[in-house]
């Protein structure tokens, strides 16, 4: 555990990506494979506990630590409010063992496989004994990491891609292959690690999707991208990004979140089964009525996501189709290195042989110039899309969020002026600041909460607002403060849906702060009716 705790500390300390990567390379080069496999699993965001494998809930951890450290529960909560990280709070509250009480060092895998997992789902007393015993024998750095194992997320500023880069650097295996092998669910074991870094082509390699290529938001004017002919322009759909895989006539559907969607969208799978060629298609799932000119709102698609084997009622109420926009593999050949326009041509040819309304190409938008594109983009909201995707015609299909060749040129958000009502401390580097805000608009004489937003202010404004709201707190509810309703902020958001689950009757999508309206009194903030009028 010491080795892993040292890695955690190094990653937590370093601000430079190159240092983090070097620390990862050093760790994976030196750690025993059993430990390295678990470390990889954890760094990639995996959790050792979960709904079906409970070692310690957060309420239990608090109770156990309060008793073991002789801290009143309210004092533990007050401490947590200040630290903003439960694992760290508990590590700080437990006394440091003296040299004689320090337990001999054991590997990460040993801790997980021999100590924690065997007591999963046992009686509370048994689980508690194991956890408290561990606290009493571990030094601070290890205690912190041990708690991180229990509370779920490492949050140490390491992206999956960075881990993959380190493994690629260490093993010489291309990062794309590593990324592909890590998709989906896998068990951390020396065997997995061996296969992950195997130079051979493995049978499993053929069942995996490719890592998705993600677009970056276009912040500059599109004219800075060069001639529009060098770009492929498509509408940006508001659906679920997915890869449709048909290999050896078997069909699989993967979401961008690396989840298997098989069985949830039978209409799309059926269309894929009709194809005459094995292929991997990248595209967007959308709820779309047969004769409609535009897709249904995202909320309709949402009703289908969790529904395995949807019945005829759902298939009729929210029929789903896939708009294909890229072809990554055909007849077992990886096409990702081909330029965008060639992949597109092959995709069109493939689907043209099987006309099916449930699987069609996402149409290209043809415009004479960027100005015309900008004018057409204004119609986005009416067309039920979020703007344009701009893809460089000569670019290969890359992996992850690489800037330069794929841009999302989204429409300007809807905006509203809302009043700050509540604030809560953030997490990670913002854990000692109030950075999570709840905003409200007027419903007659009262302000009703309509949105939470976590971003949009710069560091200086965050500090200033933090100071202001500490001095203007009305009430405290645990970590949340209600503040005097006087500060007005302009919020941007992507859309509004009517909602029965929200007290205000509306749900806003992707709200964020655009600016602090110091010039506006709270009385001039917007009305709830105005927001309802925008709802689709």
């Amino acid at each position: 555990m010491k080795r892993f705790a040292d890695l955690y500390q190094e990653l937590d300390r370093s601000t430079a990506t190159s240092d983090k990567r070097a620390a990862l390379v050093a760790y994976f080069g030196a750690a025993p494979p059993r430990d390295a496999a678990w470390a990889l699993y954890l760094l990639a965001g995996g959790k050792i506990t979960g709904a079906r494998r409970k070692v310690a809930g957060s309420a239990e951890l608090r109770a156990w630590a309060a008793e073991a450290s002789n801290t009143a529960p309210w004092l533990l909560d007050a401490s947590y409010d200040q630290v903003g990280d439960l694992a760290e709070t508990l590590a700080l509250l437990m006394p440091d063992p003296d040299a004689a009480a320090l337990a001999p060092d054991r590997g990460l895998a040993d801790w997980i496989e021999e100590t924690l997992l065997p007591v999963a789902n046992r009686d509370e007393a048994e689980r508690r004994a194991v956890v408290v015993d561990a606290w009493r024998g571990l030094a601070f750095g290890e205690r912190l990491v041990f708690n991180k194992l229990l509370t779920g997320a490492l949050r140490v500023g390491v992206s999956q891609r960075m881990v993959q880069q380190a493994l690629a650097e260490m093993s010489g295996i291309p990062i794309a292959r590593i990324a592909q092998r890590m998709l989906g669910t896998w068990q951390p074991s020396p065997a997995f690690l061996r296969d992950l870094l195997s130079a051979e082509e493995l049978p499993g390699d053929r069942q995996q999707p490719y890592p998705f290529f993600l677009a970056s938001p276009l912040e500059a004017e599109p004219a800075t991208l060069g001639a529009p002919e060098e770009w492929q322009i498509e509408w940006k759909w508001d659906g679920i990004r997915a890869q449709l895989i048909r290999r050896h006539a078997e069909v699989a559907l993967w979401s961008r979140g690396e989840e298997r969607l098989d069985g949830r969208f039978p209409e799309v799978e059926a269309a894929a089964a009709e194809l005459d060629t094995d292929c991997v298609i990248d595209g967007e799932l959308l709820a779309w009525q047969d004769d409609a000119a535009e897709p249904m709102p995202f909320a309709a698609l949402q009703t289908r996501i969790q529904r395995l084997k949807p019945g005829p009622k759902w298939l009729a109420e929210a029929p789903v189709k896939m708009l294909a926009y890229d072809l990554l593999e055909r007849d077992g050949a990886d096409l990702r290195e081909l330029p965008q326009h060639e992949r597109r041509a092959q995709l069109e040819a493939l689907l043209a042989r099987h006309p099916d309304p449930r699987l069609t190409v996402s149409p290209l938008v043809r415009v004479p110039g960027w100005e015309a594109a900008a004018a057409l983009r204004e119609e986005s909201r009416a067309r039920g899309v979020e703007g344009f995707m701009l893809k460089r015609a000569s670019a290969p299909y890359q992996s992850g969020r690489r800037r330069g060749d794929w841009w999302k040129w989204k429409i300007d958000p809807l905006t509203i002026d809302a009043v700050l009502l509540y604030a809560q401390a953030g997490h990670g580097r913002r854990s000692t600041l109030y950075t999570d805000y709840t905003f409200g608009v007027w419903d007659g004489e009262t302000l009703v909460p309509i949105a939470k937003a976590y971003s949009g202010l710069d560091d200086k404004e965050i500090l200033e607002l933090d100071r202001w709201l500490r001095a203007h707190t009305r009430e405290r509810f645990g970590p949340v403060r209600s503040v005097e309703p006087v500060q007005v902020f302009e919020l941007g958001f992507e859309g509004v849906n009517l909602s029965r689950r929200h007290k205000s009757g509306v749900a806003v999508r992707f709200p964020r702060i655009l600016r602090w309206r110091r010039d506006k009194p709270a009385a001039e903030a917007d009305q709830l009716d105005a927001l309802k009028a925008l709802a689709r």
């Binding site: 300390r13 370093s14 004092l75 007050a78 401490s79 200040q82 630290v83 990670g428 580097r429 600041l433």
Partner: protein, 334 residues
């Protein structure tokens, strides 16, 4: 009987002696606990200070009407018998003991219980009412052994040296910087470089006969020429927190940044300040020492003035010690 020490708009006031302790607005008579800016301000008619604290006040406030007292020496102000006692916070820091009408109150100012080679150790002064600071008033604050932290700082400098980087350690110019230098002395022979704002305080401490690690000025062209040519790679530099992110840093080609403060106990504080390293060195009492000190004074009533007072007050009340809060203007720098 009215309280011996009361909160007034000008500061903490003692009616029996007609004087203020660490006032924040101009008053006729001020008794100061120590020289930090939130406790020692210009504009008072006359100042009472500990003898050890005098050179610091002269540095920070210039020439004023000072009345100088040895620790433990009793002086009369009006109907009050007053004496100053070591607080262990910084050089010359004092607790103020006030006795009148058969009652004893002690105002702690800022204090700590950890050993500190740069100032006299905290003295427990028995009292009826103890006015305490509570800067680190939560049980998450427990200080590590300072000698170990000093070794960590030296190790960090070596780590930076191997990477061709300067190690810039931010610390407050009065007290913390000198304490770090004194704690480093046993572990390094290499001179430590100083930002100009820290050098003055270092001279004051040396003038008081306190042994510190060897130092050189970053801005000294002669002495620092070699180090400057190398962009101060491998050198430890002490700078005030205000230097972080300033143009002054341009002379260091590649550098890591560290901060020496009790606040560095939390990772979030370190990351918010964008520091590579946090070194937990505090000149305030940690949670166990706050509770221990209050117990040892034997006070039946405790008033917490600044910091995280809520948790301390509730903890004391739950353990049977009457405790309350006074809203002062003292800061929480460390």
């Amino acid at each position: 009987m009215p309280d011996l020490v009361q909160l007034r708009p000008e500061g903490l006031y003692c009616p029996a002696g007609d004087f203020y302790i660490d006032p924040w607005r101009p008053v006729a008579t001020a008794v100061l606990t120590h020289g930090h800016g939130d406790h020692a301000r210009v504009g008072m008619g006359q100042y009472h200070t500990s003898a050890a604290g005098l050179p610091i006040l002269q540095w920070r406030l210039g020439e004023q009407r000072y009345h100088v007292h040895e620790y433990g020496e009793v002086f009369q102000l009006g109907a009050a018998r007053v004496s100053l006692h070591p607080a262990g916070h910084v050089l010359g820091s004092a607790q103020v003991r006030v006795e009148a009408g058969g009652e004893v109150w002690v105002v702690s100012g800022d204090y700590k219980r950890q050993p500190d080679p740069t100032c006299a150790p905290f003295e427990v002064v028995p009292c009826d009412t103890f006015i305490t600071e509570a800067t680190f008033g939560l049980p998450i604050y427990r200080w590590p052994d300072t000698a170990q932290v000093a070794r960590d700082i030296v190790q960090w400098r070596d780590h930076c040296a191997a990477r061709g980087e300067a190690a810039i350690l931010y610390c407050y110019a009065l007290g913390k910087a000198q304490r770090v230098l004194a704690e480093l002395a046993p572990y390094t022979d290499r001179p430590v470089f100083l930002h100009g704002a820290i050098a003055t305080g270092v001279d004051v401490y040396r003038g008081a006969g306190i042994a510190l690690a060897a130092t050189e000025l970053v801005a000294d062209d002669g002495a620092a020429a070699g180090a400057r040519a190398a962009g101060f790679a491998g050198e430890l530099i002490l700078a005030p927190p205000s230097a972080a992110g300033s143009a002054w840093l341009r002379r260091f080609r590649r550098a890591q940044h560290g901060f020496a403060s009790g606040w560095m106990r939390l990772r979030g504080n370190r990351r918010r300040r964008n520091m590579d390293r946090g070194f937990v060195v505090s000149d305030h009492a940690d949670w166990p020492d706050l509770l221990r000190t209050i117990r040892e004074t034997g006070a039946s009533r405790v008033i917490a003035t600044h910091g995280d007072t809520d948790a301390l007050v509730r903890t004391l009340n739950e353990s049977g010690v009457a405790a309350e809060t006074l809203a002062t203007h003292y800061g929480e720098d460390d």
